[in-house]
Symmetry: C2
Subunit: 242 residues, 2 copies
């Protein structure tokens, strides 16, 4: 019997074997983009001060990335827009990243899980394979939706629901997988948006906020299904491509 | 333009005019039951120690009620089972109540809202009327799902979704009501359970837990739609019937 749970926040996470953290808009999309474009690693930092300290210790090939209220803090060379994480800018670099929701969720997940990965639409099929493989081995899997400042977020839940649906599809031993309330609910929430990710981002509060802040093109980048086929794996303090 | 938001946890609640706290299994069901059966007030307490202190100060006509891990703490005369809150036991009494999730949600909501009410299926139509009246006056309304130890709970979200759906039904000025992600999602989650509350509690994690703990009859009490038509209103530290 394995547990396949979704958490709508980075709180109350139970012990698990595998955790997948999702922050579609935009942290985990940016992480997959950076690693696929040759970044050596992405180092999540909780605060701007911690990010600066980690970058200082990281040496010459380190770049500061992230946002507060959607924009990069002073002295950061990159924001949290996946379109900034081009091969030219991040190839061969260590990226220290601090974001409002995604980073906190990653570090919370790490305290509860043996292995932590990040998921998004741009690396969806890769993460789906990780989840299916874990469930086939009867491991417990937790999908952690980063949400938005402590609130439920539609796009993370829809992405989680799609993972739950496709991971269970024709899974041998499906009957031995236990879902929680949030996992079952994510299936209902995801249904109307399958293959309609543009509409999903139009409906989502944070999608509308990003459009208002002038990040409309980011939304297109964040729904480019499987554009960056990589499995970001948190090893110590570093996310590296598996 | 008024906001009609759902919060899946008692965190990140924005400022609002009206908040309705929902903890269907079982705190807000018990609160409605107690007030409908003539309790003078229900006083939510955060901890067992605080409950004891409030009861001590409350005098002779005060009773301690609540639970930790589903059962009443030592020295409490009532648990958190709505079936215990009979007219004979609670009539004319002040009830100090401490529960794992509901109480914390109530006090968090109070810090953000001008008026706080509690909702459940047993006082559904009464609370629906409060919400519709607030929206008609273009006030902001927040439905706060208490959840289960920091986690998303199906039954609270389904009850919230039913409130959202019926409050918006033929509401004059519907177009000026802004929903958040959690409110829109609650509509999807509620859909399969409308009028099928027995099935809802069978699916819900906490419904199964309560059945396992021997509280199966509580589940029937918690889905008795409109059985206790009362509007519990938090005034200072006391919930009183409006």
């Amino acid at each position: 019997m394995s547990q396949f749970y979704v958490y709508e926040q980075a709180v109350g996470i139970g012990r698990t074997d595998v955790a997948v953290v999702i922050d579609v808009l935009r942290a985990t999309t940016s992480i997959a983009t950076a690693l696929h474009h040759g970044a050596v690693c992405v180092v999540p930092a909780r605060t701007v001060a911690e990010a600066r300290e980690l970058a200082r210790r990281g040496g010459a090939d380190t770049r500061l990335a992230g946002e507060r209220h959607g924009v990069p803090p002073r002295g950061f060379s990159l924001g949290n827009s996946p379109r900034e994480f081009s091969r030219r800018r991040v190839g061969g670099q260590r990226i220290v990243l601090t974001t409002t929701n995604g980073t906190a969720a990653l570090l919370a997940a790490q305290s509860r899980a043996r292995d932590v990965y990040t998921g998004s639409y741009v690396n969806f099929s890769e993460i789906l394979a990780v989840v299916r493989s874990a469930l086939r081995r009867e491991l417990d899997v937790a999908i952690v939706c980063a949400g938005s400042e402590g609130r439920f977020s539609l796009e993370d839940t829809a992405c989680a629901g799609r993972l739950v649906r496709l991971a269970l599809h024709r899974l041998p031993g499906r009957g031995r997988v236990q879902l929680n309330d949030a996992a079952r609910s994510a299936l209902h929430i995801e249904k109307p948006y399958d293959e309609k990710l543009a509409r999903l981002f139009q409906h989502a509060d944070h999608g509308r906020t990003l459009r208002r802040l002038g990040f409309a093109r980011d939304l297109a980048a964040c729904r480019a299904l499987d554009a960056h086929p990589v499995v970001p794996h948190l090893v110590g303090r570093e996310l590296v491509a598996l």
